[in-house]
């Protein structure tokens, strides 16, 4: 066995590890390929002395293709998998290429922890081409279980020539998958393979020395002129032993893990929920893993005993890595230092979990970078999971938003398996609204979850659901930290106490840099040396990075020569944004600029930007730079990032020297992205997030503002020159362009820019014409409206052009109403309408009719907002907008003449404004005061008195419905749970009449809740067929989010306003899923029920269920126990 097994195993483990399985693999073990021998026996050519796959093309198999292939497939079952191949199949490869055409190998690679994804054609490019869990197997010459010509093996010479082209083209993907980091491992390859040496040589040539390993290499193969040349220059390493023997030895030496042992630790899908140990089905596991990490039982497996040195080494490693992603083993070993806020966070989360209730608000942990939020979130996940009661999902920071439906699939599965609540921890460092959106999505599907998110420090944050991670350590925390560090080495705590400045917000991140790499280094006085050096270099450090001088991390980086202009960097210079940069400085900048926003750069993208010259030296380069980390995600994607965003930020500040270079580096990256067309394309997502973080909607927007236009132009360049037409990128492009006019002085120029932005947004909307992503369409429409709103402002402020301004405003208003119908939770639609209206009203240039019209619109828009679903920030913004509009409205009254002329034009705006003036501001979802009820009656009587005039105006009808309802019930329409309604049959009919008229209005006025109320009226008017039809439709509408979707808002009520009682028989029940259906005697209809609601989890078919209520939510009628109703 060669000595370099360690190096080989290390390379395999690091990945990407790609296996090339040649056609000779079945021959290796016994010297006979039974599959080929049988084919040749059956279809002729068996007597040929040189048995090879090429002879199949000369035989009779082509005469009856389907029959021949079916027979061949059947043969595959007859023969055993070579024993060595079972071993090879136990390794978690990143990808596989195969020139064999049989199915025997498949059995060795399909395991309980890995799926197989065959790739037959160039047209299909897997999304996750390096996934170790879904192994992409590229079948260069097809496979016998397929019958389509593009997928089956060739059976004639001509077919072979055609397929050869495809095989070569597919194999060209190998270098791209391997990258300069990985290895190509060739086994079972011989000179008579259909994929010839001439085909293989260019692939090998595209890789670097030391990346290709050939096993079972025969003398004949090694003496090939190309191969021997590659052996000489180190591109290929060849062995006469089998790959399997290397793997077995590597496993024995503890260098790699194979098969079951691998799956136990990495892919174990077992989780304990209460007293049940359940295994997450592979399909759900793989689905969820794309978005989040499931904390399985392996996370808190007892740690093995380790030496003190190893413990220190792992602790330091924990400090290094856990700032961006949890290192679970470290929590078990007690490496996480607990900050004071964590106790509060745990209490709040446990309180919510114990409540078992649907959550209205996420918990948001906020604080500046480097305050220990990620570690705290990991610790919280670990503590909750360790009690084994609630399943936990952890979503780390990634360039793309997690897919909520994936999360939903897991939570649903967990609930079906006994989970009362799920905990979702999302270390997204995104705006609070995204957590609200996620929560609403899941809650609207009935998921009982507690969601905890992270974001930057929010000064406005208040309320129990916002918990702050303070930047500085308290006195108590400082003492605890000292004690904590002393557990690793007695002198460590003392050293830190002398260094610790409680006001230094970077200390926790700097700790890794301050600690010496070895435990023995602490004792030998290395810490002391740091102390001395610090005093000595203080002056110089101030010169280099004056703004960072009191910062522990900056010092640590300086000490590590990372933010020093040391000899570390080569002398060869490049120009970036007018500044001279070495190649390595450029590499660091390209990683650090996105890294400061928590973004990691996809490896392929980085390599494209750096071009070929750095490619061959890439691995060496990386190993020399301690500030970069490369990670392989669950899908096998490799990306590079900083150790911590805070480090990246400091490095960028110290080395990049301003927004200009940062923007220039970002543009370099964005300029090289590729679009694979996948919805989860990593590079597109990266570019979108990078542009967003350097755009106008983040706190640092003013810093990058002068370069918005440049960034937008880069996006234009890739769209126009490279045809990357991605609506999400176009949305960023338009936003950056629109906002760039803030720094443009020339009005005409600004107008041109806005027109360009408008075109981009319209093109994006056009691209999305048939897309099902309503939220994205809505966002693009809002951006388009915002551009139009800016145009309105331009027209008024600089040109005094009222009519064009009004015309543009009307377009914007229509677009916004459509955007809101597509996504009723899109608050920005209201926001844009509000500021555009404000600008237009402020101008005082509109005539009264137009003014009233737009006032009615904006008031109506405010009226339709479901405040309970808004994040705190949005609620505050809404208040501010209301205030701005109220201030303007307060200045002017509606004159009689204007009212009359609106009336003559058939507009209901005048009526709307007068009625809304009567009711003033009403609460969102609670009971009204007697005074408010009186106001509602007055407004209702006014509108009803003018019913014929307002019958065509949706705004007025909506107001009519609400004022009628509120005056009748004394409450808003949706007010708490299980409302009973004291409505007579006439009342229901009246209500239904208004709703019928509303539902016939323009589509933009149809909100789902009209449909819901309509269904409710149908039920109470005994039109059950139509009622159930309506609720079926509503139940299927997946775009309705928010808690209201599943809250049981109303109970079926009699004319006395009391809940009606029903009886029924169970028609089916599933105790595991806790769901069932009941045939209601009084209705002769089946409705849903939840067995545990009635305390009968084991209820069975045909059992009776008597005296229950029927409740209504947006999913439909549901049986509700009497005990749930509180009069």
């Amino acid at each position: 066995m060669p000595d370099n097994i360690e190096e080989f195993c290390l390379k395999l483990k690091r990945g990407p590890a790609v296996l090339f399985l040649g056609q000779d693999y079945l021959k290796l073990e016994s010297g006979i390929d039974p599959f080929l021998a049988e084919i040749l026996k059956k279809y002729g050519q068996a007597e040929e002395p040189n048995v090879q796959y090429g002879l199949i093309l000369e035989g009779d198999a082509k005469n009856s293709i389907e029959t021949s292939l079916a027979w061949m497939q059947q043969r595959c079952d007859r023969f055993s998998i070579p024993q060595w191949l079972n071993t090879v199949g136990e390794f978690a490869w990143n990808a596989m290429f195969c020139s064999a055409i049989d199915l025997i190998w498949v059995k060795a690679f399909r395991t309980d922890w890995r799926e197989i994804q065959p790739v037959f054609s160039e047209k299909y490019k897997p999304q996750n081409e390096r996934s170790r869990q879904v192994l992409n197997c590229t079948l260069l010459f097809g496979r016998v279980d397929r019958t389509e010509e593009l997928e089956r093996p060739p059976l004639t010479r001509l077919e072979f020539l055609r397929r050869k082209q495809v095989a070569v083209s597919l194999a060209r993907r190998i270098p791209e998958i391997i990258t300069p980091l990985g290895s190509l491992v060739i086994e079972g390859y011989g000179l008579r393979d259909w994929f010839t040496i001439e085909d293989l040589v260019p692939i090998i040539d595209a890789l670097n020395p030391g990346q290709v390993f050939i096993f079972d290499a025969t003398e004949a193969l090694l003496s090939n002129v190309f191969i021997s040349e590659f052996l000489k220059n180190g591109k290929i390493t060849a062995y006469s032993e089998t790959l399997a023997s290397f793997l077995i030895r590597g496993e024995e030496l503890g260098l790699i893990k194979l098969g079951a042992k691998h799956s136990e630790e990495v892919f174990n899908r077992q989780i304990t929920i209460g007293h049940n140990v359940v295994t997450v089905p592979l399909a759900i596991w793989n689905q969820v893993s794309r978005s989040a990490q499931i904390l399985n039982d392996a996370v808190f497996a007892p740690s093995t005993r380790i030496s003190e040195e190893r413990k220190y080494y792992e602790f330091r490693n924990f400090l290094s890595e856990s700032g961006s992603k949890p290192v679970w083993a470290g929590y078990e070993k007690g490496f996480a230092f607990e900050r004071d806020f964590e106790g509060k966070l745990l209490l709040e989360v446990e309180r919510r979990l114990e409540s078992g209730a649907l959550q209205a608000e996420p918990v948001v942990l906020h604080g500046q970078t480097g305050t220990g939020k990620t570690v705290a979130l990991g610790s919280l996940a670990f503590k909750v999971r360790k009690k084994r009661k609630y399943p936990v999902l952890f979503i780390d920071r990634r360039p793309f938003q997690p897919n909520f439906s994936n999360i939903d699939a897991f939570c649903k599965w967990a609930e079906d398996n006994g989970a009362v609540m799920n905990l979702i921890l999302w270390d997204g460092m995104v705006g609070g609204e995204q957590y609200y959106e996620c929560l609403q999505y899941l809650v609207s599907r009935g998921r009982k979850i507690v969601l905890v998110g992270t974001c930057y420090r929010d000064q406005k944050a208040r309320g129990k659901n916002y918990i702050e991670a303070p930047a500085t350590l308290s006195e108590k925390e400082t003492s605890s930290l000292v004690e904590f560090l002393n557990t690793f080495e007695p002198t460590l705590g003392d050293f830190c106490r002398s260094k610790l400045n409680p006001r230094d917000g970077t200390f926790l991140v700097a700790l890794y840099r301050l600690l010496p790499p070895t435990r023995s280094g602490i004792r030998s006085g290395l810490l002391q040396e740091i102390d001395t050096v610090q005093r000595g270099i203080d002056v110089r450090a101030k010169e280099i990075v004056p703004e960072l001088r009191d910062n522990a991390l900056a010092y640590a980086l300086w000490k590590a020569k990372i933010i020093d202009d040391s000899q570390f960097f080569s002398a060869e210079l490049k120009e970036v944004a007018g500044e001279a940069m070495t190649e390595i400085e450029e590499l660091i900048g390209l990683v650090m600029v996105p890294g400061q926003f928590g973004l990691q750069v996809p490896l392929e993208l980085l390599l494209r930007v750096l071009k070929k010259e750095i490619y061959s030296n890439f691995v060496t380069l990386l190993s020399g730079i301690d500030i970069l980390r490369w990670v392989e995600d669950i899908r096998g994607n490799i990306s590079l990032g900083p150790r911590h965003p805070l480090e990246a930020k400091l490095i960028v500040q110290a080395r990049c020297g301003g927004a200009k270079i940062e923007s220039s580096l970002a543009r370099k990256l964005i300029g090289e992205i590729k679009d694979t067309g996948s919805s989860e394309d990593m590079e597109i997502q990266f570019a979108v997030e990078l542009a967003r973080n350097m755009g106008p909607n983040v706190p640092s927007s003013t810093y990058y503002a002068p370069f918005f236009k440049d960034l937008s132009e880069t996006l234009t360049m890739i769209r126009e020159s490279r045809s990357i037409q991605n609506p999400r990128l176009m949305l960023q492009e338009a936003t950056l362009l629109r906002e760039s006019i803030r720094t443009v002085i020339d009005f005409m120029e600004a107008e041109k820019i806005l027109s360009r932005a408008e075109k981009i947004a319209r093109d994006a909307a056009e691209l999305l014409h048939k897309d099902s992503n309503k939220k994205l369409i809505s966002a693009v429409m809002v951006e388009l409206a915002a551009i139009l709103g800016s145009k309105v402002r331009q027209n008024i402020e600089y040109f005094d052009r009222v009519d064009p301004a009004y015309e543009v405003f009307t377009q914007a208003r229509n677009i916004l109403f459509r955007a809101r119908v597509l996504d009723p939770e899109n608050f920005y639609a209201i926001d844009v309408l509000s500021w555009a209206t404000r600008d237009l009203l402020k101008s005082n240039l509109l005539d009264e009719k137009k003014r009233v019209e737009i006032e009615a619109d904006v008031l109506h828009a405010f009226f339709t907002v479901e405040e309970e679903d808004l994040s705190i920030a949005h609620r505050e913004r809404l208040e501010q907008r209301r205030f701005e509009i109220a201030e303007i409205l307060g200045r002017e009254d509606l004159t009689e003449s204007a009212f009359q002329s609106l009336r003559n034009l058939g507009s209901g705006a005048g009526y709307y404004l007068r009625a809304s003036n009567m009711i003033g501001r009403l609460p969102a979802d609670r009971s009204l005061t007697p005074e408010q009820v009186q106001q509602c009656s007055k407004a209702f009587n006014y509108l009803q008195g003018n019913r014929s005039e307002i019958s065509k105006d949706g705004r007025c009808l909506h107001l009519l419905l609400r004022t009628w309802w509120m005056s009748k019930t004394g409450k808003t329409i949706f007010c708490g749970e299980r409302q009973t309604l004291l409505f007579s049959r006439d009342d229901w009919q009246f209500c239904q009449q208004i709703l019928t008229e509303l539902l016939m209005m323009d589509e933009f006025l149809r909100f789902p809740f009209f449909k819901f109320l309509y269904g409710l009226t149908l039920f109470h008017l005994n039109n059950l067929e139509q009622c159930f039809h309506i609720f079926n439709e509503l139940g299927r509408e997946t775009d309705i989010h928010g808690r209201r979707r599943i809250i049981r808002s109303f109970l079926a009520s009699d004319s006395d306003g009391l809940p009606m009682l029903f009886n029924g028989t169970v028609t089916w029940a599933d105790s595991r899923r806790n769901r069932g259906e009941i045939l209601v005697e009084e209705l002769r209809k089946r409705i849903t029920f939840i067995p545990t609601d009635f305390g009968r989890p084991e209820i069975q078919r045909n059992e009776a269920l008597n005296k229950f209520h029927i409740a209504f939510n947006f999913i439909g009628p549901i049986a509700d126990p009497q005990t749930f109703y509180k009069a």
Binding site: E6, E29, S30, F79, Q83, W84, G521
Partner: protein, 304 residues
């Protein structure tokens, strides 16, 4: 209910038939089970009968017939003889029941709790309780198990018959023979261990203990070899290697000392320097302090 003795007799008859057909089919006359030397189990009382029968069939499937049963049982589904996987489950049941009845299971171990679950389910199916206690319940288990055995052996017999009729019969038989040839029972290593230990002057080595320590690893390594190999030669290589490793001396410095000396973090480098220390010590045995000094000099020399 069938009599356990009758069922056992049926199973034995099937075992004989399988061997008969196999020996005719295989060119070398190889049987599936051969003639087991172990005695027939007594079937009463039912509880002991059950324990004995499970052990008996475990030895039959996993020791005497190991490689053949492995080869043939994989073909049960290929020939459509086990559409529901019931017969294959019998193998798993036998393995689990044997562990359950003869070992102390650890409820904290994932593997053991899985074994326990399989057995609980099996007992529940057989005698309506997962904890059989009286004679009637154990009798149900015994009868149930023997019926399973008969079903399984019937399936194996059918597989051999199907191979006999298969148009790829020759290739399949060659494959089967190849698997048999490459299977090396533990006792095959013993004479080689004795020879090697004699050759290196370690006559007193406990062959059985030494083989038990390394057998699994050797077999796994031999399985990875391709082409024809000389068993004796390959086995000897491995025995010698492991004999040498066990022979290795204990040096006075530890990995801990090395990490202290060089200021290293745990990792492959520590192993590398340990190997160097061992080499130095072998050249000239010395005390810990002296060895550390020599090691330091050597490392400085290498660095220079």
């Amino acid at each position: 209910m069938s009599n356990p003795s009758t069922l056992m007799y049926q199973a034995l008859a099937l075992q004989d038939e399988i061997d008969k057909v196999a020996s005719k089919l295989n060119s070398d006359g190889a049987k599936v089970f051969g003639s087991p030397s172990f005695t027939m189990p007594k079937l009463t009382p039912a509880e002991l009968g059950f324990i004995r029968v499970v052990s008996w069939f475990y030895v039959l499937y996993f020791e005497i017939g190991k490689i053949n049963i492995e080869f043939l049982s994989k073909r049960l589904t290929v020939y459509g003889l086990d559409p529901e996987g019931k017969l294959l489950r019998h193998l798993r049941n036998t393995n689990c029941l044997r562990s359950f009845l003869q070992h102390n299971l650890d409820p904290c171990s994932g593997h053991d709790s899985e074994v326990e679950k399989v057995c609980d389910d099996w007992f529940m199916d057989c005698c309506k309780t997962s904890v059989p206690s009286d004679e009637a319940q154990w009798s149900d288990c015994l009868v149930g198990y023997l019926n399973e055995c008969i079903g399984f052996l019937g399936g194996i017999k059918a597989v051999i018959r199907a191979i006999e009729q298969d148009e790829s019969r020759d290739q399949i038989l060659r494959d089967w023979e190849f698997r048999r040839k490459r299977f090396h029972a533990p006792h095959e290593f013993d004479p080689i261990i004795a020879i090697v230990s004699g050759d290196v002057g370690r006559d007193n080595i406990d062959v059985d203990r030494f083989r038990r320590r390394h057998y699994e690893k050797w077999v796994k390594e031999l399985e990875q070899l391709v082409g024809d190999y000389e068993f004796e030669k390959e086995a000897r290589k491995r025995i010698e290697r492991d004999l040498l490793v066990e022979n290795a001396i204990v040096i006075p410095v530890t990995g801990h000392d090395i990490m202290q000396l060089v200021g290293l973090s745990p990792g492959p480098k520590v192993r590398e320097i340990l190997c160097l220390a061992k080499k130095l010590y072998m050249q000239k045995p010395c005390s810990k302090e002296v060895l550390l000094g020599r090691l330091r000099n050597e490392l400085e020399k290498n660095e220079a």
